[in-house]
Amino acid sequence: MIKAILIFNNHGKPRLIRFYQYFAEDMQQQIIRETFHLVSKRDDNVCNFLEGGSLIGGSDYKLIYRHYATLYFVFCVDSSESELGILDLIQVFVETLDKCFENVCELDLIFHMDKVHYILQEVVMGGMVLETNMNEIVAQVEVQNRMEKSEGGLSAAPARAVSAVKNMNLPEIPRNINIGDINIKVPSLSPF
């Protein structure tokens, strides 16, 4: 079972936090910090698996992560999950995000946190992998998007919103957002 999904940037700023097991608020923050501490130390040419830190449950738990440009995607899983399987699931998730946001970047995750959550809900439900087929996930999200359009919400079309954000006025040097390398490179699947 997946215990938590954490997405944070290179500075450890959380971008998406989803716990499937209850932790108190301050504990959650501590886990994020510790995970970031563990993951950020690692080079890109090392393996993508880490034994879980002491906080999230010891040796039975593993951290499986991928690093895309400015973002770390970390899945914390127990022993019932396959390491390589989860690694590819992360890939599927990122590819799906890319498809939904059209060239996804960190800003998409910031400004459309809710949307990312909805996408994630179609991939992982209550800690269990629900769907691994990207097309299926996208289709489900599309259904919801259509509904959204028909209702005409505030942030109607995602693509529009993204471009708007990307062109947003940022008066000073941003501390946390790496605008320079703004696009998450969706690698052509030879990451390691």
Partner: protein
């Protein structure tokens, strides 16, 4: 990283130039979230961020409670954002629920999302959501149903599950597969949090497994994986189904949609393989069903993509988990090789993991890859390194432990991660510390200083810095000790056993799967083992803090220390409050305050003083005073004896008196042996009678006491011979005597002023020699019986004593008497070969000490001859002296025996008898000597006992016939008679003789004062009586005791002042201790023995002996 920063900086101007673009202006003005995020990025300190967020939250709070809800969705997202940064927005929780309840579909979605992010399963507000969920589950809008199912699977109050369960179940039949799939997962979630609530829908799970949509089926595998994990037996019937599914998946029967990088449904395959490995574990028949498909999977998974490795890895693990099949194992091993050798680091990691997993089954595999493993040890990636160490940890054995621990320590130096450090330090400690200590304990055994185990236990209980590490260390200790106990605990040294029992008692609760009963059983086994010393037993007993049963058993033990412990435990177990006070949990952590001045006893002492008790004097003072008062020095006593002894031996007289003195010497020779070789030298001159063996006996007894091995019943002649031959062997240096408080106290309480130097050494290292002896003695059928007796006695001390006795008897050829209560064994008859050779060296010089009770009397047969005084008949004038002893059968002649005593005789026929001490019985040997010129025919020896012995026998002229009667003492009795009658036919007539053998006898029991003390406490039957003192000039006590010694074959252990202690025994295992004290003009005697009637018997004989004197 620096690249990224650089890029950022270079990209910045261009971004800033976009300032004027209309789109961005529009967004930033309308999007509050945009503003918030921008605001945060502008900040420079955490403090400012905090202030900003607080402001933001305040504004959200204000807007949220306003009736205008058009902004609700956006507000909620902002609240979520704040929460994700770690700021609490608890005011928004209720609004999120409201939003989920009342909003439009989109608002509902945000509401649900916020709820699932904000709340947890036990939050009280969640109850408000139940109705909303109920409503949405029944909605016709698929999206609403999906949302409801999603939130339910994320978190739902446990108590409310029954309310929505029917609705969720219903969804299993929903036409849309996405709904069915989510419903299955929601049910799985219910199963996880409240398994008994979904018991009844197991067949619905089966239906889901058979769903026509593979997605639903995949979802249902989550449930099955979990349930099979919990109970593999219940789902064996599904094995075939799972195999079929996997076969279809592998065979590409699924729609192309399910392919991922042209691999058919890899996650589904992984899941199925996991299930199969659970099902096939330890089950051959089930495993056989899956061999084919596993083979197929291995074959199909071409190494082209990451995900195929994932499948291969699961496949390999499965193959190694289920019942092994050789060709599959071979393929799997090859696969592991591919993993390990892969340049891809993730695969290397998994390869190492797989190796770690299989290495216990197949250590050769690790050998194959040893070079890779060595390389991995120096891998830059710490995780790889650690995994390698983990692998090494698994293959650690006695030979490589040093290297592996070295590597681990090396890694530790380079590592900074706390968690890893803790983990690894624990492992190093496990490997190194416990293992090493185990070796130290088993090798060093009882030789080591007592403070080594003590400090080890102290270390273990006080622990190191981290709790987790301590726990692991203790766990490891518990594990390793349990496995040791399951092995052959009999071989472990006593001291190690004590450590083990302590550790198990303190920490076995840490290992949850280890049932207390198991530990108890293992420890109880120790208690039952005959080798276990009583000290160890009391350690073990302490572990049984609540075991009523055991404490009751040992409550009546013969060992007083054991008994006291057992009693204490019994009281403790009955009194919970007291127990909690005396034995608090984790008491080891709190330093105990020891009041060394024993001030709490002051009241008691002053009371006692007021009541007239003598003030306490320290032992040395007492000793001095006593030495002044009564100058009874031990020195001359001990040293003078060998001289007198040797003279007596040289004279080749077998005087029981002297001999029993000699045994007295060997009793004291604990001291002598400590004094070194002088004793040995002196004894060297004394030939075979007792000298070396006296010394030897001492040494072995010490070992015996320490080792408490199977007491060798027959340290018999073979041993004697052996010992003679191995005389040059140097005895093991005597280890430090253990300050045995209890024994000391006891000894000093019995004998004031006695040197409390304890020479009972419990720590002697066993030598192989006794073992050898034992093996030699194995031929004696009786030995096992005796050994059993010992084991039943549960007291270890007697075994040592037995040994003393045995050796002592062997050494000194004591003419002790038969103690017979019933003769029940048949005799074996051996024809005495008529040897008419030379002089009989059996000078039958019987003394008073020989015969106790009534003297043998000769009763007339037909011819009317009365031999009223059956004084040993010797016919020195007889031209033919038969060497009677040469007629003893070989197996008896080596044993210690009494002199051959003539019982009665007439002109033609002489009867002589002797007793041979077998260790478990007494053999009465009767010699019939024909001294006439004619053959005597039809001699009928008729012993009057339960089993009538009638032996017809012809004895030719001038020859000897011999009969053996084996006598076993069932219980001691005051008066035992064996009456027999011999009738024979001379050519002339038929005279008949009858003989009566009536004896009570005991043998001296040679013990030291300390042993005496221990034994005294452990015996349960006692008698007190006053005896008259003999006063013929000498010091009355000594005189009386000497009389007793002479008459009854007692051993005077010690005489000090007005007190004396005496020891004796009937056969082995039947010792009796006597404590005498002069009161006015009577001797107060207190006897103790483990044998019920023995004290009474002995006191009777004492009275008689003194009367006769």
């Amino acid at each position: 990283m620096s690249d990224v920063v650089e890029k950022t900086l270079t990209a910045l101007p261009s971004l800033l130039s976009l300032d004027s673009q209309p789109g961005s202006a529009k967004l930033s003005s309308t999007s509050k979230l945009g503003n918030l995020i921008r605001g945060i990025t502008e900040l420079t300190s955490k403090h400012e961020e905090e202030k900003l967020i607080q402001r933001e939250l305040a504004s959200i709070k204000e807007q949220v409670s306003s009736p205008n809800t058009s902004m609700m969705k956006e507000l909620m997202v902002r609240a979520i954002y704040c929460e994700s940064l770690g700021y609490e927005a608890s005011f928004s929780y209720i609004h999120a629920i409201k939003l989920a309840q009342q909003g439009t579909v989109l608002e509902k979605r945000v509401g649900y999302l916020a709820v699932s992010l904000f709340l947890n399963e036990s939050h009280e507000l969640l109850l408000l959501l139940v109705n909303t969920v109920l409503k949405d589950l029944q909605s016709t809008n698929l999206i609403e149903v999906c949302m409801a199912l999603t939130v339910v699977s994320q978190m739902f109050p446990k108590d409310m599950i029954p309310a929505i369960l029917p609705l969720v179940e219903e969804k299993l039949n929903h036409p849309k597969e996405i709904i069915r799939r989510k419903a299955v997962l929601a049910l799985y979630k219910f199963y996880l949090i409240a398994p008994n609530q979904v018991q009844h829908i197991h067949n619905k799970f089966r239906k889901a497994l058979c769903d026509k949509d593979p997605g639903v089926m995949t979802a249902s595998l989550h449930i099955y994986l979990q349930m099979i994990q919990e109970n593999p037996e219940g789902y064996k019937d599904l094995t075939a189904s799972f195999v079929t599914i996997l076969k279809q998946v592998v065979g590409g029967k699924l729609p192309m949609d399910f392919n991922y990088h042209s691999v058919p449904a890899p996650w589904l395959q992984i899941q199925l393989l996991r299930i199969l490995s659970l099902l096939g574990k330890n089950d051959q028949s089930t495993s056989e069903i899956m061999y084919e498909v596993l083979d197929e999977s291995l074959r199909r998974a071409e190494m082209n993509h990451n995900i195929t490795y994932a499948i291969l890895y699961e496949c390999v693990k499965c193959i190694y988990t289920i019942h092994p099949k050789s060709d599959l194992l071979e393929k799997a091993a090859k696969c592991i090789g591919n993993f390990v050798l892969s340049p891809k680091i993730n695969l290397k990691y998994l390869g190492l993991k797989a190796l770690t997993y299989v290495v216990q089954q197949d250590p050769k595999l690790a050998l194959q890859h040893q070079m890779t493993i060595i390389e991995c040890l120096d891998h830059p990636d710490l995780i790889i390194k650690r995994e390698t160490l983990e692998l090494l940890f698994r293959i650690t054995n006695a030979q490589n432990v040093t290297v592996i621990v070295e590597k681990m320590l090396e890694f530790l130096h380079s590592n900074t991660d706390d968690y890893t450090t803790i983990d690894l330090v624990g492992k190093v400690a496990e490997l190194w510390f416990i293992e090493t200590m185990n070796t130290v304990f088993s090798v060093g055994g009882d030789m080591m200083q007592p403070d080594i185990p003590n400090s080890f236990l102290k270390l273990l209980s006080e622990g190191f810095d981290t709790v987790e590490e301590d726990r692991k260390l203790r766990l490891f200790a518990v594990d390793s000790y349990v496995s040791l106990l399951q092995g052959e605990p009999g071989k472990l040294p006593q001291r190690f056993l004590q450590v083990i029992s302590w550790v198990l008692g303190e920490y076995s609760h840490l290992r949850e799967e280890l049932e207390p009963a198991t530990v108890m059983r293992l420890l109880a086994k120790l208690l039952d083992m005959k080798q276990t010393s009583s000290e160890t037993k009391s350690w073990v007993l302490l572990v049984f803090q609540s075991a009523q049963e055991v404490s009751e058993t040992y409550g009546s033990s013969m060992d007083t220390v054991l008994r006291q412990r057992a009693q204490e435990l019994q009281h403790l177990s009955q009194d919970c409050e007291l127990r909690a006070r005396v034995l608090p949990q984790d008491a080891g952590l709190e330093p105990l305050e020891v009041d060394s001045s024993l001030s709490f006893l002051d009241g008691f002492v002053s009371e006692a003083l007021a009541a007239g008790a003598a003030p306490y004097k320290p032992p040395h003072q007492r000793q001095e005073e006593l030495a002044q008062a009564k100058a009874l020095s031990l020195e001359p006593y001990g040293l003078s004896l060998p001289i007198s002894m040797s003279s007596c031996s040289i004279a080749d007289r077998q005087s029981p008196t002297l001999l029993s003195m000699s045994s007295g010497l060997s009793g004291d020779s604990t001291d002598l042996s400590h004094k070194g070789s002088s004793t040995t030298l002196k004894l060297d001159g004394v030939k075979r009678v007792w000298g070396r063996e006296g010394y030897l006996a001492q040494r072995e007894a010490v070992e015996e006491a320490a080792q408490v091995e199977v007491p060798s019943p027959l340290r018999s002649p073979s041993q004697q011979a052996e010992a003679d031959s191995s005389h040059s062997q140097t005895p093991t240096p005597t280890p430090t005597p253990e300050p045995d408080q209890e024994k000391q106290q006891l000894a000093s309480s019995l004998f004031f002023g006695l040197s409390s130097q304890s020479s009972v050494c419990l720590m002697g290292k066993s030598e192989p020699t006794p073992q050898r002896f034992r093996r030699k003695a194995k031929g004696q059928a009786s030995s096992s019986g005796a050994a059993e007796q010992i084991s039943n006695s549960l007291v270890s001390a007697p075994s040592a004593v037995d040994n003393f006795l045995c050796n002592n008897l062997l050494d000194s050829n004591i003419t002790s008497q038969v103690g017979i209560s019933s003769s029940e064994q048949t005799s074996e008859l051996s024809q005495g070969p008529a040897t008419t050779n030379g002089t009989c060296d059996t000078e039958a010089e019987s003394t008073d000490g020989d015969i106790k009770g009534s003297n043998p009397s000769l009763i007339i047969g037909d011819n009317g001859l009365v031999a009223a005084d059956p004084t040993p008949h010797k016919d020195p004038g007889s031209p033919k002296d038969f060497c009677l002893s040469s007629h003893l059968p070989a197996e008896l002649s080596e044993l210690c025996r009494s002199e051959i005593t003539p019982l009665c005789s007439n002109q033609s026929l002489g009867l002589s008898a002797c007793h041979v001490h077998k260790e478990d019985s007494l053999v009465l040997v009767v010699f019939i000597t024909n001294s006439s010129d004619a053959a005597i025919r039809q001699i009928l020896l008729d012993l009057d006992s339960e089993q009538l012995q009638v032996i017809y026998h012809d004895v030719t002229s001038h020859s000897v016939a011999m009969h053996q009667f084996s006598l076993t003492v069932k219980r001691p009795s005051v008066h035992v008679e064996v009456v027999g009658m011999v009738s024979y036919q001379l050519p002339v007539g038929t005279p008949q003789e009858s003989l009566t053998l009536c004896r009570f006898s005991c043998r001296p029991l040679t013990v030291s004062t300390e042993e005496y003390g221990t034994m005294w406490l452990s015996f349960s039957h006692d008698t007190k009586q006053n005896l008259t003192l003999i006063s013929d000039g000498e010091e009355p006590l000594t005189a009386t005791l000497n009389v007793l010694k002479e008459k009854l074959q007692l051993h005077i252990v010690e005489i000090i002042g007005m007190e004396g202690i005496i020891a004796c025994q009937l056969l082995r295992d039947q010792p009796c201790l006597m404590h005498c004290r002069v009161h006015a003009d009577v001797l107060a005697v207190w006897l103790r023995s483990p044998v019920p009637d023995l004290p009474d018997c002995l006191i009777y004989h004492c009275q008689r002996a003194l009367q006769e004197h």
